[in-house]
């Protein structure tokens, strides 16, 4: 190190330049993603918002709903759901824009700055969400420990993403393997899924935790720099040759079926399945495989202390959260939800386009349900075997079977309706989505909870239950209006109406036999059943709004 003034000046200049570059890179990260981060945090609150809205329907009013929501949110699984959701939102900012390759900055600088920003973003987002949850629902989430863990996880995610830019297949495999490894590691800290309060999850961050976090972060940085440098100089891992090799071998056997499509609608249905519909069955397969691997590898005592089906139930809850995201993806026509030139210029009516999307979604749901059930049965069986749990197959009651079937039917219809409705909202584009989001939060979360905090004199004289039922009736009116509008504008036809009627009748019948008979006092449930066919009208309307702006 030279002590000559020139040498010091040169070093100062160099470090000044590095600082400027780092600042510019950091600015890019935040400027690119701040909107996503804010919307994401708002979106996270859909989950507690949904629970809160559902609980509001039961007698007991707002305080009870808050209490129930809070006690559910205390549980560790919600931490993982929120970490996954936040990570998914930060993910676009972690990608490798090719632009960075030609910036006059060293690979370590590029990787370290982005990673640091992502870690900070994750920690801050988690901290904000946790503090809000603590304030609203009194869930007593710890901030520092789980926040640092989340930050390290996002660093790992970025390292994987940076190294696998060339190969989506490898990327998926790496992420899945990481998830499995993570669960196995966390299992050492305590039971993975037993309802454990967040207050006990990483309560204190001691020397050992800081050391492991530090080492893990260094490993992420190293892997990230290595992978990025290889990609930057054109020698990244590229598994395309496997695909090419396979397609060469299989070409003559899998001769392209030269048979043309029977109709335009069949062709569009094929397009939807190939482009988007396949995602859910593939995701179900991958998560199912991961669950099976975990069931085999995780120490038995950590999986559950109760029934062997606990783990399967937990995995299914996680899968449901994925359903929301995938339903959204099914409806999005492009990254910014617009109809682009190719999709918008198909010679199909709006109703036909919407039908193709819904059919593909339904097929995806059915396939995934079958796949997931198969995997979960396998998981439950494995856990039962490992725990040497004897499943008493006693006398199966006829009413039990009927109950079970009806409950499943109703549940399946409800899930289909919810996911298809989310798809319809996504089909409508940003404006429709924004309006729906705003209405949902306004009516179901903000208004009821704010009315409780008003001074007594201004509190409206409506009970929460009545408000909830009133909203339900409003939904029914909107549903009917949607069908009427769709009919008048020639967006839906007679077969669709027949299908809607069939769905309602099936749902009501299923509810009737599942313990909610067709009586006056169960009218909210009947209204729910009548809402089930809503996507059949909402989807064509959404396409009409989005396609012709």
């Amino acid at each position: 190190m030279s002590h000559a003034p020139g040498g010091d000046q040169a070093m100062n200049r160099a470090s000044g330049q590095t600082l400027r570059k780092a600042t510019a890179l950091a600015w890019e990260f935040w400027a690119h993603g701040w909107r996503g981060f804010l919307w994401g945090m708002a979106g996270i609150f859909t989950i507690p918002g949904l629970i809160f809205a559902i609980e509001m329907g039961r007698p007991g009013g707002v305080p009870r709903a808050l209490h129930v929501t809070g006690s559910l949110l205390c549980l560790v699984p919600f931490y993982w759901v929120i970490v996954l959701a936040l990570g998914a939102l930060i993910r676009p900012s972690l990608e490798n824009p090719r632009l960075r390759y030609t910036l006059p900055a060293s690979s370590p600088l590029l990787v370290v700055v982005t990673m640091a920003c992502a870690m900070v973003a994750m920690f801050v987002q988690y901290a904000i969400v946790a503090m809000i949850l603590n304030a609203l629902f009194d869930t007593r989430w710890t901030i520092v420990g789980p926040g640092l863990l989340a930050a390290v996880l996002i660093a790992w995610c970025q390292a994987v993403l940076l190294s696998t830019s060339n190969s989506p297949g490898l990327r998926w495999f790496a992420i899945l393997a990481s998830v499995v490894a993570l669960v196995l590691t966390v299992a050492r800290w305590g039971p993975v899924i037993r309802p454990e309060k967040m207050a006990d999850f990483l309560p204190g961050v001691g020397g050992r935790e800081m050391l492991s976090f530090g080492l893990a972060t260094l490993a992420c940085v190293g892997l990230g720099i290595l992978g990025f440098a290889k990609l930057r100089h054109g020698s990244g891992i590229d598994l395309r040759w496997i695909g090419d090799w396979l397609s060469e071998r299989l070409d003559f056997r899998w001769a392209p079926r030269a048979k043309p499509f029977s109709s335009a609608r069949a062709a569009q249905f094929w397009l939807e399945c190939q482009e988007r519909g396949y995602v859910l069955p593939v995701v179900a397969t991958m998560f199912g495989t991961a669950a099976v691997v975990l069931a085999l590898c995780v120490p038995a005592r950590h999986i559950t202390n109760g029934k062997p089906t606990d783990f399967a139930v937990f995995a299914t809850i996680l899968m449901f959260s994925a359903l929301v995201a995938i339903g959204f993806y099914w409806g999005s026509r492009s990254p910014n939800l617009d109809f682009r030139a190719f999709n918008g210029s198909r010679p199909l009516s709006d109703g036909q386009l919407a039908t193709a999307v819904l059919k593909s979604a339904t097929l995806g749901l059915i396939l995934s349900a079958l796949i997931w059930t198969a995997f979960m049965v396998l998981v439950a069986w494995i856990v039962a075997m490992r725990q040497k749990y004897s499943m008493p197959l006693g006398a199966v009651n006829r009413t039990d079977v009927v109950d079970y079937l009806c409950g499943t039917t109703l549940g399946a219809l409800a899930v289909w309706s919810a996911v298809s409705f989310i798809t319809s909202l996504a089909l409508g584009g940003k404006k429709v989505l924004g309006v729906a989001f705003g209405l949902f939060f306004g009516c179901y979360v903000l208004l009821p909870s704010m009315s409780q905090s008003l001074p007594y004199a201004f509190q409206p004289d409506i009970s929460a239950e009545a408000y909830f039922k009133g909203c339900l009736v409003l939904w029914l009116v909107l549903c009917a209006a949607a069908f009427v509008a769709g009919w008048r504008w020639h967006l839906i036809s007679v077969p669709t109406l027949c299908l809607a009627a069939t769905l309602i009748v099936t749902a009501v019948a299923a509810a009737h036999f599942a313990g909610m008979p067709f009586e006056r006092r169960y009218w909210p449930h009947v209204v729910f059943c009548c809402l089930i066919p809503l996507p059949l009208a909402a989807a064509p309307l959404a396409v009409c709004v989005n396609r012709h702006r």
């Binding site: 392209p256 062709a267 030139a341 210029s345 198909r346």
Partner: protein, 322 residues
């Protein structure tokens, strides 16, 4: 002939569509645009555009970036709903009747939007289902001519091949109306030649109508029958090409004394030059101009037909300089 249809009426009133059908008996224009205006927020993309595109013609749409060409094309395709004014294609409302309108249109978008994951063969098979007029043999012939590998994925195609693939599916069903949005942008001369040849062949073959927007004015000059210049959403010039070319003249004037400022002469669209020699461009009014030039002490040294490029530059700049 064409009515200013309010959006609600366009969608809900079958009586309106009946009137529309009876109206189309009178005119046989393929596309009728009537006082079409459109704003996006505060920006006015189209400002009172009116035109009828006759069948069997090549219609060239020119203008600078952001002049409103793509907006106009999207209105014809029904991707934008006409909020002020109306658009009728084949006598139908493209928003109300996408199947009837789009099934007879071949469209090549500006960004060559195609499903990346499909192979060329899959793309052809998929499109075949939508267009009743799809000619399989013709499609295969085009594919061979464009040298596209049927098993190649679209995302792996180069830019030129992508444009060719898009052109293939636009042409293969022999559409009544071919719409090309900036077909030559970013392409090498070989592909550009392919595209222009395809346009000529479509028109020469069955008298199909072609609408294409372009920046390359020398191509427009070769191929168009009728040219419309859009400037900031307004129609700056709309006339048959031969009228435009025969009407405009470029004169080189040589002044006796050097002119320090631009010599103001009547009917001149643009000036260029300095000192004693000035090049001016005018549209008609030649005699007046000659007289005025003589008065100003100038001699006409050269007189030529300007290229379309020069005409449009002069026209596009004229409002600013005025």
């Amino acid at each position: 002939m064409s009515q200013t249809a309010r959006p609600e009426n366009a969608m809900s009133n079958t009586a309106t569509s009946n009137t529309a059908t009876s109206n189309t008996v009178q005119s046989n224009a393929i596309v009728e645009i009537d006082h079409l205006s459109r704003s996006f927020g505060s920006k006015k993309a189209l400002d009172d555009v009116t035109h009828s595109i006759e069948p069997g013609l090549v219609f060239g749409l020119v203008g600078e970036n952001g002049a409103g060409k793509t907006t106009l094309i999207k209105h014809i395709l029904g991707m934008l709903k006409a909020t002020h004014g109306s658009v009728r294609v084949f006598g139908l409302d493209p928003v109300r009747d996408p199947v009837g309108v789009l099934g007879r249109i071949g469209y090549l978008s500006e960004d060559r939007d195609l499903p990346d994951w499909m192979t060329v063969a899959q793309l052809m098979r998929y499109n075949q289902a939508f267009y009743p007029g799809w000619d399989e043999r013709f499609a295969d012939q085009l594919r061979d001519q464009f040298e596209l590998d049927p098993q190649q994925q679209i995302k792996r195609l180069s830019r030129g091949q992508r444009a060719r693939a898009g052109l293939l599916i636009a042409l293969a069903h022999r559409p009544d109306l071919l719409i090309l949005d900036e077909p030559s942008s970013g392409l090498d001369p070989v592909v550009r030649n392919d595209i222009l040849s395809a346009i000529i062949r479509s028109v020469a073959d069955e008298g199909r109508t072609v609408v294409f927007s372009s920046h390359l004015l020398d191509e427009v000059e070769r191929v168009a029958d009728h040219v419309m210049l859009l400037h900031k959403g307004r129609v700056a010039l709309s006339a048959p090409l031969h009228e435009i070319l025969s009407g405009h003249r470029r004169l080189v004037l040589r002044f006796e004394a050097p002119q320090s400022a631009r010599p103001e002469l009547p009917g001149v669209l643009s000036y260029q030059g300095e000192g004693r020699e000035w090049t001016v461009l005018c549209n008609g009014g030649l005699e007046e101009l000659r007289v005025a030039a003589a008065h100003a002490g100038a001699q006409v040294v050269e007189e030529e037909t300007p290229t379309l490029d020069e005409i449009f530059l002069a026209r596009a700049r004229a409002p600013r300089s005025a």
